[in-house]
């Protein structure tokens, strides 16, 4: 069963040359149109992702990977075309959204957990485990402002993975923490994969794409160049790079 179905998706950004962001200007310059640039971020993308599948998305900077991911997460609205998603989506676009440095680790687990869709009861049950997984049990009541950036990310990741995702959107989040923690992260993702979680994975790390993904999509300047076996797609991408 396909859980994500994207058909003929287009995303166009209008970038005005001059930003008119006051009511005063909007009224006084009502009749003088602002010139704008059109940026076609995604052109006619069609694909579907099966349940339990892991789809990789690769491409150079500015090829529309993150835009596609944000549309799947409902953060951006498509200009045309349709996106059909049949399960609950958990976006990991950035870890630790809503973290507040004036609050303690335990409190932040609560805040972030709820933003990510956990119930207060689940958080209470899992709070100790989250701290243990992050290796931060000692710092339970320390304010987040005293944390290093690595501790920050570990806490965020440990909380985020507790959300029982059905569809997971990942944007380069693995590029954090030390080797030991990275290994933990990869183990978790493997576990998710084995549990049948559908994943969409945007990355520049081609090795991990080859290793994890069932299929891979190559984007170039918003166009869908190729979808298929990760090895072939990566080879194509690397060939592109060379030319």
């Amino acid at each position: 069963m396909a859980v994500i179905e994207v058909s003929h998706l287009n995303k166009v950004f209008r970038i005005p040359h001059e930003k008119r962001n006051t009511l005063f200007k909007a009224v006084t310059e009502f009749f003088t149109p602002v010139p704008f640039e059109i940026f076609h971020a995604l052109k006619d993308i069609s694909l579907s992702v099966e349940e339990g599948e892991m789809l990789g998305i690769i491409g150079v900077n500015g090829s529309g990977k993150s835009t596609l991911l944000k549309i799947l997460a409902r953060i951006l609205v498509p200009t045309s075309g349709s996106v059909l998603i049949k399960k609950r989506v958990t976006p990991f676009l950035e870890l630790g959204v809503g973290f507040n440095t004036d609050f303690t680790a335990a409190e932040n687990i609560k805040i972030y957990g709820i933003i990510m869709g956990l119930s207060p009861k689940e958080i209470e049950e899992k709070s100790d485990y989250i701290l243990e997984f992050a290796g931060l049990t000692r710092f339970r009541d320390t304010k987040l402002r005293n944390f290093s950036s690595g501790m920050h990310v570990r806490l965020a990741f440990s909380t985020a993975i507790q959300t029982n995702p059905q569809i997971l959107l990942l944007d380069e989040v693995l590029a954090v923490g030390d080797i030991e923690f990275q290994k933990k992260c990869l183990d978790t993702l493997w576990a998710f994969k084995n549990e049948g979680v559908t994943m969409v994975y945007v990355s520049h790390d081609l090795d991990s794409v080859k290793k994890f993904c069932d299929r891979t999509l190559l984007l170039h300047k918003g166009e869908q160049v190729m979808v298929g076996d990760p090895r072939e797609v990566v080879t194509r991408y690397q060939g592109h790079d060379a030319t």
Binding site: F13, A26, A73
Partner: protein, 259 residues
């Protein structure tokens, strides 16, 4: 559609609550007096206004201290909610651009924060009520209803302002000006009857005037709420909420691109 909306927002109640709680706690964390600051603020304002208006202006109102305090608490709920809501979307780009949940949650939680603050301030009011031995009647049972309508009205205005402020950054300055005028066009420190009849008629269309009037009637003067004003407030509140959601939903899809 309405029921659907309420049901959906009910599912997000934990999120609304935690965001409100975070904001509430953050507001007081830096002040030495902490939570008591929020009690001191209305008391100070009450003291100043009371001295000026009962001694110098000689306003003749029964239980004037309480009349004034209730007015101040209610007015500051409105002005704080709308002012903070203005910034609720603009100042949290991370929550808009990196995760998804219905965006009006952010406005609802801001209004809830200010509601908590007002509730906290109401402690002072209750103490005063007891001190002055104000007789209570069964009509106080209408108060929750009036407060609910007040919240609905405030939320409607807040949604409108929050979404407009994403596009027009001078909204906050314009609104500050409107609030300043509004303070005097609303009977916070005096009853509407101080105005000449023609002005009184115009100002009585101000829904805030009616809400504050109703709240005073049922709590201080043991009266049943005036049916005409109650019906008027009821309609204005829900129409405003409708307008608020209409504007908000229209502008919402582009929030992530604008910020």
């Amino acid at each position: 559609m309405c029921i659907q909306l309420i049901k959906e927002r009910y599912n997000y109640r934990h999120l609304i609550w935690i965001l409100a709680w975070v904001e509430f706690r953050q507001r007081y964390k830096n002040s030495v007096l902490g939570y008591f600051w929020s009690l001191l603020e209305p008391l100070l304002m009450l003291g100043v206004l009371y001295i000026v208006f009962s001694n110098l202006m000689k306003i003749q109102v029964e239980y004037y201290q309480l009349f004034l305090l209730l007015g101040i608490i209610m007015w500051s709920f409105f002005s704080r909610s709308t002012t903070l809501s203005l910034l609720s979307i603009r100042f949290k780009p991370n929550l808009i651009k990196k995760v998804y949940f219905p965006r009006d949650i952010m406005v609802i939680s801001t209004c809830t924060t200010t509601f908590l603050m007002s509730l906290f301030e109401s402690v002072v009011f209750v103490i005063f009520m007891a001190l002055f031995q104000i007789p209570l009647s069964i009509n106080i049972a209408y108060l929750p209803c009036i407060i609910f309508l007040f919240y609905i009205l405030t939320l409607g205005v807040s949604l409108t302002l929050a979404s407009l402020n994403v596009y027009y950054q001078d909204m906050q300055y314009i609104w500050a000006l409107i609030l300043q005028i509004g303070f005097f066009a609303t009977p916070v420190i005096y009853p509407l009857s101080v105005f000449p009849p023609y002005l009184m008629k115009v100002l009585s269309y101000n829904p805030l005037a009616q809400i504050i009037f109703l709240a005073r009637e049922v709590t201080l003067y043991s009266k049943a709420p005036d049916v005409a004003s109650f019906v008027y407030v009821f309609f204005v509140a829900f129409v405003m909420l409708g307008i608020g959601y209409a504007i908000f939903n229209r502008l919402e899809p582009k929030f992530a691109e604008e910020l």
